[in-house]
């Protein structure tokens, strides 16, 4: 562990400087130019991370402490940076993708009134993500973890006037907070049992934690990761997060933020290894989420929601990979997915941008609105196809390789294998449907604004294309990444590869059938199965269940706030205090000021004393 190089410091210093400069200077003086310092800082971070990647490939890794953060008696926490192969690899993906999406955002947000405010929030997220990836202990990771949650709250609710955006922002932060509570408890338990939260100390002697304790901490960490990486129970916020502008969805809710959970699981692999039953459990949850996401994606109309559910599905795949195959499959899929999912989202952004005026300014578009855009948006079509193919796992492209490693790891247990294959089929199914419906040919029921849909300006489609190319060619990164992570990639057996290609092909076939051959197309089909559609729309009752739970808590709050506080506590104290004047009123009315009565009471008192004395004598 060599001391921190200059590049490492740039990682954090550049974004901070850009943010400070942006907030205090350009946001005040010339809001339209806020993006310039921010883009510069993105470039700096990208360059620094690539430089570090080069160094890491040479086998180097760095760590260093900046300052002591908390030093109560038993709790000693330092602020430091750790740049080992894992963090550098993910960091470089995030930096590159982030840089490209920043450029895209300049084009996308040009007409927005709060242009500079958007970039400040956007870069705040970027800074938090970089901090998260490079922190050297759990508490610092938790700090940036919540920072990322805050940025997502600000960005999802960026269009403040939209009530749905506000609700989505709040829902995202609240769900993340539910997860973060588990994460915080894990950190506190770590302090309790091992006295430290620094990765170096924890992972250098694994005997610190007994297997039973490791299971508890591991589970709580997984619970935190579930919220951030939208795994089954806590994924509810991701579909609603699409309310935010598309670059936000692309960068945060596809490529980087949601992968933080997977990164956390990858980062704490020595911990999870010690817990016996934990990894299979994680894998199972991952697999289930994958299938669940795929089903959700297939039945959606809104193009961004389709991609959102697809992200849920692929995060499930990463978790499955992490659970089944260890670190390498998860990280490799994470990186590849980062590229092509960002590309797909940006293509969706282009489509929305293209159809903007014809949709009456609606921030999102559905599959019904689009249709046959191949002619009018060739570049976006090319990027989309590349991304879709890579996502579905068509052999030469990146997605195929990363999916292979995940499935190889999953094939250990039959259940996981089945779910894995099902996901492979599902992902090619929904991406195929989206491809056919939006770009290839216009169906009768589609409004097809292809006529006046216009291609996005170069500042938007160039980064998209680059990203999709990255996604497609990512396959070749497998070997260097494996060498970087120092692990031997466990190639899938030929049967596994054949099965996955078969399921992928089946998926495409089905999609084509559903899109073109079905009589009357989708609307007819939807009207025939309203119950099924409604069930899927509400994620088989899981979304309403969560809303009802939140409603119950709000109800309890109202009950406590209004009824307990208002009608029991307040009047309670007032009545208790009012009892005395009431008693005094009762006593006062009895006394009528008659002299003989005064004498009567006096004599009675004296007689009482006399009798008492003579009795007690």
């Amino acid at each position: 562990m060599s001391p921190l190089p200059a590049a490492a410091l740039v990682l954090l210093a550049a974004p901070l400087a850009a943010l400070a400069f942006g907030f205090f200077v350009t946001h005040r003086v010339r809001p339209r130019t806020t993006h310039l310092p921010i883009l510069a800082s993105c470039a700096a971070v990208a360059a620094a991370s690539l430089a570090l990647l080069g160094g890491a490939l040479g086998g180097a890794s760095w760590s260093g402490r900046l300052f002591t953060w908390i030093s109560a008696a038993g709790v000693q926490v330092h602020f430091g940076l750790l740049l080992d192969p894992l963090s550098v690899s993910v960091l470089s993906m995030v930096a590159v993708v982030g840089f490209l999406i920043h450029i895209y955002a300049v084009g996308y947000m040009r007409h927005d009134a709060a242009f500079s405010r958007f970039f400040l929030y956007f870069h705040l997220f970027f800074f938090a993500m970089v901090g998260l990836l490079t922190s050297d202990n759990y508490l610092q990771l938790y700090l940036f973890w919540e920072g990322v949650g805050l940025a997502s709250f600000l960005l999802i609710g960026f269009w403040q006037h939209k009530p749905t955006a506000r609700a989505a922002a709040w829902k995202a932060f609240l769900t993340n907070r539910v997860g973060d509570v588990g994460f915080l408890l894990a950190i506190l338990l770590l302090f309790r049992w091992t006295g430290t939260v620094a990765f170096a100390d924890l992972f250098s002697n694994p005997s610190l934690l007994s297997s039973q304790k490791a299971f508890i901490v591991g589970f709580l960490l997984f619970w935190g990761a579930c919220a951030k990486s939208a795994q089954f129970p806590l994924y509810v916020w991701l579909p609603d997060a699409m309310e935010g502008p598309t670059p936000v969805s692309a960068l945060m809710h596809a490529a980087t933020m949601v992968t933080a959970g997977v990164f956390l699981l990858a980062r704490s692999y020595p911990l999870l290894e010690r817990a016996p039953g934990l990894l299979p459990f994680i894998a199972l949850v991952g697999a289930f989420t994958a299938v669940w996401g795929a089903v959700g994606a297939f039945f959606r109309k809104d193009i961004k929601r389709i991609l959102a559910y697809s992200t849920v599905s692929h995060l499930g795949l990463m978790t499955l990979g992490r659970g089944g195959g260890g670190v390498f499959p998860a990280v490799f899929h994470l990186i590849v997915h980062g590229f092509f999912k960002a590309a797909l989202f940006l293509c969706a952004g282009n489509v929305i941008h293209g159809l903007h005026d014809s949709l009456g300014g609606a921030p999102t578009a559905t599959v019904d609105d689009a249709g046959g855009l191949r002619a009018s948006m060739p570049m976006t079509f090319a990027a989309f196809t590349l991304g879709a193919v890579s996502l579905a796992g068509v052999p030469p492209f990146g997605g195929f390789w990363s999916k292979e490693f995940v499935l190889a790891g999953a094939f250990g247990t039959p259940a996981l294998a089945a779910l894995g294959l099902l996901t492979a089929l599902g992902s090619s199914l929904y991406i195929g449907r989206m491809l056919f419906l939006t770009f290839l040919g216009r169906r009768s029921w589609q409004k097809g604004h292809a006529a006046h849909a216009h291609e996005a300006p170069p500042v938007m489609w160039v980064p998209v294309l680059l990203l999709s190319l990255g996604g497609a060619l990512a396959g070749f990164l497998a070997a260097p990444l494996a060498r970087l992570l120092g692990v031997e990639p466990h190639h899938a057996s030929h049967t596994v590869t054949a099965l996955s290609i078969a399921s992928m092909a089946a998926g495409f076939g089905l999609a084509w059938a559903a899109a073109d051959l079905a009589p009357g197309g989708e609307p007819a089909w939807r009207s025939r199965h309203p119950a099924l559609l409604e069930a899927v729309e509400s994620d088989f009752g899981w979304q309403p269940f969560c809303d009802r739970a939140a409603g119950a808590v709000a109800g309890a709050a109202r009950f406590l706030g209004d009824i307990v506080e208002g009608s029991i506590w307040d009047p309670g104290t007032e009545d208790a205090a009012a009892a005395f004047p009431a008693l005094s009123e009762v006593l006062g009315r009895r006394a009528r000021g008659i002299l003989n009565d005064y004498a009567l009471l006096m004599t009675a008192g004296a007689a009482g004393l006399a009798i008492l004395v003579s009795l007690c004598f």
Binding site: L583, S584, G588, G593, Y598, A599, A610, L612, V613, F617
Partner: protein, 459 residues
């Protein structure tokens, strides 16, 4: 015992008596001085000062009937202070009123120095009769006559109790000197009980206190202040003297229960009062309850004179606060609760002083009232009865209910359209007296060492 030295202990009483006779003689001689004027007040004040000087300077001689131990000297000073406050606040007195005042003070001096039970009775009578007359004298209206009569008859009943108690004690032990008598007989115990009843009447303890609100409400405010302080102090003195005769059952059972009943009844009744003087009357009943508790604690701690420092301290600080409160009411001109709103705007100085005095009566820390209550609570804990301490604490809380209620009415409530109550009383002496009382209350609030000083004085 040369006659002169024998008179030594009686000097304070004699100086008051001299003032009394001088006033009567002057009245008889000059016909024209009809209305209240400053001269009689000055003569009476001179009597007080002479008594105070005598009490401080006289050598500690001990006659058959009177003696001047350190405690007695302290009482003389206490009575002198209350009297001077009355004279200063009143300013001018008719010679009859001045004579009555000197007579009452002479009675109190006898009471303070009494070694013989009969002197106690004489002191009681001499203290009470002038007050009955003064109540009606200073403010000759129907209400004050009614108050005087009620006070007279209940007072006479109490005097009857005291006399019969004295007789029974004499029958039981054969001695009349205030010293713990060896022979213990039921008659002696009965005697002590009845005399204690008379003392509790004068103090205003339950069930003997029903006369007090009427007398305090109808009397002239300065006289009420005098009654609430000097007469109450004399009553405490009587109670302590009588209990030192060896009260068995009265002390252990009756006193704590009466104390709790008094303070609770006093506080509860005060909550509903509209007339401010009647409210302060009931609050002084509550304070009588705290005093009875303090006396009980003193007895339980073995009853050495210096241990009574808490009682003296409480009396001294209560004297300042209570007299100050009554005089402040007079100075601000507020008669009933409705006169209070907006007082802070109309008479800011009077309002501020009244706030300080009310808080002191309530026992709120930065004021003397708290120091007094603090030591009472502590003594009760030392005497081994935390429950009585809890009762005192709870009652002072109820007390705060109406004290802070008055403060709220005065400062926070909005002033009514047309000004209410009589205008602020411009008398300089009155304002000076109130300022002295308020200043004393504030000063003693931060002097916890006061009690230790008193203890040293009494040793």
């Amino acid at each position: 015992m040369t006659p002169l030295s024998e008179l030594q202990p009686a000097l304070p009483a004699l100086s008051h008596a001299a003032a009394l006779t001088a006033l009567c003689a002057a009245a008889a001689v000059c016909r024209r001085a009809k209305g209240p004027s400053v001269l009689p007040a000055a003569v009476s004040a001179a009597g007080c000062l002479a008594a105070a000087w005598a009490a401080a300077a006289a050598s500690s001689a001990q006659g058959p009937l009177l003696d001047l131990d350190p405690a007695a000297r302290l009482w003389q000073l206490l009575f002198g202070a209350a009297a001077l406050l009355f004279i200063a606040a009143r300013g001018a007195l008719t010679w009859r009123a001045a004579a009555l005042l000197s007579g009452s003070l002479c009675g109190m001096s006898l009471l303070a120095g009494a070694r013989n039970l009969f002197m106690l009775f004489l002191g009681l009578e001499m203290m009470s009769l002038p007050v009955y007359l003064l109540i009606h004298g200073l403010r000759p209206d129907k209400r004050s006559l009614e108050a005087a009569l009620k006070y007279f008859f209940t007072g006479a009943l109490a005097a009857g109790f005291f006399l019969f108690g004295l007789a029974a004690y004499y029958a039981g032990t054969g001695s009349m000197t205030i010293a713990r008598s060896p022979e213990a007989s039921p008659a002696a115990a009965l005697g002590v009980a009845l005399m204690a009843a008379a003392a509790l009447f004068k103090l205003g303890a339950f069930p003997f206190m029903f006369w007090l609100p009427d007398a305090y409400e109808a009397a002239e405010t300065e006289l009420t202040a005098f009654m609430a302080t000097a007469v109450k102090a004399a009553a405490v003195l009587m109670l302590m003297r009588v209990l030192s005769l060896g009260a068995g059952a009265v002390e252990t059972l009756a006193l704590p229960t009466l104390a709790v009943l008094t303070m609770t009844f006093g506080n509860i009744m005060a909550l509903r009062q509209k007339d401010l003087q009647r409210l302060l009357a009931w609050s002084s009943v509550a304070h009588a309850g705290y005093l009875v508790a303090a006396v009980w604690a003193w007895r339980r701690l073995g009853g050495p004179p210096h241990a009574a420092a808490t009682v003296y301290l409480y009396l001294g600080l209560y004297l300042a606060a209570s007299a100050g409160a009554f005089l402040a009411l007079r100075a601000s001109g507020a008669r009933t609760r409705e006169d209070l709103p907006g007082l802070a705007e109309r008479a800011p100085l009077a309002a501020v002083l009244l706030v300080v005095l009310l808080l002191s009566l309530g026992g709120v820390p930065p004021t003397g009232g708290f120091t007094a209550k603090f030591f009472v609570l502590w003594d009760l804990w030392r005497a081994g009865s935390p429950l009585l301490a809890a009762a005192v604490a709870f009652n002072s809380l109820v007390g705060l209910g109406y004290y802070v209620g008055l403060v709220r009415a005065m400062t926070l409530d909005a002033a009514p359209a047309e000004p209410r109550g009589e205008g602020a009383c411009p008398r300089l002496g009155l304002r000076a007296a109130v300022i002295v009382c308020a200043g004393l209350s504030l000063l003693t609030g931060v002097m916890p060492g006061l009690r230790a000083g008193l203890e040293g004085l009494l040793k």
